[in-house]
């Protein structure tokens, strides 16, 4: 019973937060709609990462993000206050948790998105695109798709979203800093022996990072090589016996972040792998590794440190 009361009060709290968010949004709307009313018809053309030509307002004022990595990019390029809606997974930066929630990445509420009157909706892959775009297009809302497959692609996403928000300078500064950190890592591990890595996205069933995943590129830059680098797909379901045969020297467990419970240990087929025998199983905050946003470079640094601790000794 107490659990139900707790759930109830939690629901009330959520409702209150939502209400508050909606009120805030209305307040901010009325504030912003006073000034740029004259520019309403002024639009420009952009091309998103799926190659679609889109018309967006000259100055984008109202953005909904449907993925945590995109929310992080929007904040990082300095357009965070223009975010009017994001997902339940969007927990970084802390301000993002106070933005109106439109559901999770897989099941956003189209109704709620429309009610937030965004000018652009940011989507992280081409999945579900069709059903979204149709409904949103009827309400003059543009869907912008990002689709990075490597770290360079993530930088490109930062640049693109910077341009979309009219924050080109901030975006370029950010990319410069991220590039500097990336090349520092690459330089540090450059001469070290390449480590064979298995990236365990989840243990049961066994999922890993495949050919199309940015993780494969990240592991390479951190001085490793993913044993599943040639497996088709971004996040393939991997065979147990191939896992056993892959004999990785290190196993990475993305865990402890917003998405998972579990994935706390190397899967059974690895119990006699060099990685487990040598104690080279590393947990890394999944939000740094699985979100193709600015913090992916944090993930890169953490990855490089566990794969090549000797390269970072001072």
């Amino acid at each position: 019973l107490s659990a139900r009361i707790q759930k109830n009060s939690l629901a009330h709290l959520l409702a209150a937060i939502l209400l508050l968010a909606v009120v805030c949004c209305f307040l901010s709307c009325s504030r912003s709609s006073n000034a740029p009313q004259t520019e309403k018809s002024a639009t420009r053309e952009v091309v998103d990462e799926a190659g679609r030509r889109l018309r967006v307002p000259t100055r984008v004022e109202r953005i909904v993000s449907l993925a945590p990595n995109l929310t992080e990019i929007v904040y990082a390029v300095g357009a965070g206050e223009r975010l009017v809606g994001d997902t339940e997974y969007c927990n970084f930066p802390a301000e993002a948790t106070h933005v109106a929630k439109v559901g999770d990445t897989l099941h956003p509420s189209v109704e709620r998105i429309i009610a937030l009157r965004p000018q652009v909706v940011l989507v992280s892959t081409a999945s579900q695109l069709e059903s979204f775009t149709k409904e949103l297009a009827e309400h003059q809302i543009t869907v912008y798709v990002t689709d990075p497959h490597d770290l360079e692609g993530v930088f490109q996403s930062v640049r693109n979203l910077g341009e979309l928000c009219g924050e080109t300078t901030t975006a370029e500064d950010l990319i410069k800093k991220l590039r500097a950190r990336t090349s520092a890592v690459e330089k540090a591990v450059g001469s070290a022996k390449v480590v064979r890595v298995f990236y365990q996205l989840s243990d049961r069933p066994l999922y890993t990072a495949g050919r199309e995943s940015f993780t494969t590129d990240l592991i390479r830059r951190a001085g490793g090589v993913s044993v599943t680098a040639d497996v088709p797909g971004a996040w393939p379901r991997y065979s147990d016996e191939s896992a056993l045969a892959s004999q990785p020297e290190a196993i990475i467990l993305p865990t402890g972040g917003s998405m998972s419970s579990g994935n706390g240990a190397a899967a059974d087929p690895f119990k006699k792998s060099p990685a487990v025998l040598a104690g080279r199983v590393y947990k890394i905050n999944e939000d740094h590794l699985n979100r193709p946003g600015p913090r992916l470079v944090d993930g890169l640094e953490e990855l490089a440190h566990v794969l090549h601790p000797e390269s970072f000794k001072q």
């Binding site: 069933p205 497996v231 991997y238 056993l244 006699k272």
Partner: protein, 351 residues
């Protein structure tokens, strides 16, 4: 009493003599058992990693005592991953097919199948509830799956029961209702869970034989063998039940007791296989049908033969699931449905 014995004897006589039936059962079950053993040995030789065939076969036939020149890694693949999975496939196939044959006789409905009647979904909801509430207690999963399967089958039975007994059409409609209701329950539970677990659940729901622990495997094998044998022991009353509950009762069958036992045993078979591998569809439908087409509809032969053929079917289907897009994997339920659905349409059209 005497009248019922006479009546059942006349019925049995119409099927053939008891001894002849026994001989025929033993013959066909022997043949199927040999085929199953051959299939287990052969499918153990293929997988996403290639192993030397001769050496692997030698190691398999020695029961793992001789290495036959396999490396430690190769024998680990063979004995710790492939063989347990193949044995689980056999146990799941045997459970689902013999349970299907049991339901079909009990409910006098050729379409009665754990998956189509929502019984697998009941077991799935039970398993999910066990995972959500007692995640760390492993044995809670088969127990809750059993409870779910039992509840779902009783719900279908009660829904389908009219004044004139349960007609096949009513049964299927009741099954559709229970299935959709439980599917919504599954969707509801998965929506409440976090994304990583949702991904593993969607794979498991379609039937996934890779996840079972060795303890669950042992339970699944014991339940498969014991359950199929128990159902076979009830083959004679089930034969009489096919004449209709009323007639069976007149012939001396304790209808109520038989019904309870078959529901319990079949629920246990479905529950354990769902808890260990998710919902593998169509096995309980297609396999008993094929067996009946080729060996006739005497349950004394249908039930054990369906069990063995079901094992054979799922072993082959899972071999496809783990090899066609290797090193990636497909859920085995996708394969059984791909084979099963067209085959079933063909059977329906043949009448």
């Amino acid at each position: 009493m005497t009248a019922s014995i006479v009546a059942s004897q006349t019925y049995a006589a119409s099927l053939k003599g008891t001894r002849a039936t026994l001989r025929r059962t033993l013959f066909w079950c022997g043949v199927l058992l040999l085929l199953l053993v051959a299939a287990v040995l052969l499918t153990a030789l293929v997988g996403s990693e290639s192993l030397p065939a001769k050496e692997s076969l030698c190691a398999l036939l020695s029961g793992g005592r001789a290495t036959c020149g396999l490396t430690a890694e190769q024998s680990a693949i063979l004995f710790e991953i492939r063989l347990p999975r193949i044995l689980l496939a056999a146990a799941v196939g045997a459970s689902l097919a013999s349970a299907g044959a049991g339901y079909q006789s009990l409910l006098r409905n050729p379409l009665a199948e754990p998956y189509l009647l929502g019984i697998s979904n009941g077991a799935a909801v039970g398993t999910m509830v066990a995972l959500v509430f007692f995640g760390s207690v492993e044995w809670s999963r088969p127990v809750m799956a059993f409870a779910g399967a039992l509840l779902a089958s009783l719900a279908v039975y009660q829904l389908a029961r009219g004044r004139a007994g349960a007609s096949p059409e009513r049964m299927i409609l009741a099954g559709v209702i229970v299935t959709t209701f439980l599917s919504s329950a599954i969707v509801f539970i998965t929506t409440m869970m976090d994304a990583t677990r949702v991904r593993s659940f969607t794979f498991w729901l379609l039937g996934d034989l890779s996840g079972a622990t060795s303890r669950l495997l042992v339970v699944a094998i014991i339940v498969a063998i014991a359950g199929s044998l128990l159902l076979t022991a009830f083959a004679r009353p089930l034969n009489l039940l096919m004449l209709g509950e009323r007639d069976a009762f007149d012939l001396g069958v304790e209808v109520g007791r038989v019904r309870i036992v078959v529901f319990l045993v079949a629920g246990m078979l479905v529950g354990t296989s769902v808890a260990s591998s998710g919902s593998v569809g169509y096995v309980g439908l297609v396999v008993p049908h094929l067996v009946r087409l080729s060996l006739g509809s005497d349950n004394r032969i249908t039930i054990p033969a369906a069990g063995l053929s079901g094992a054979l079917f799922v072993v082959v289907a899972d071999t496809l699931a783990r090899t066609v897009i290797a090193p990636r994997e497909l859920p085995v339920g996708a394969i059984t449905a791909l084979i099963g659905a067209p085959l079933f349409i063909y059977l329906l059209r043949r009448g």
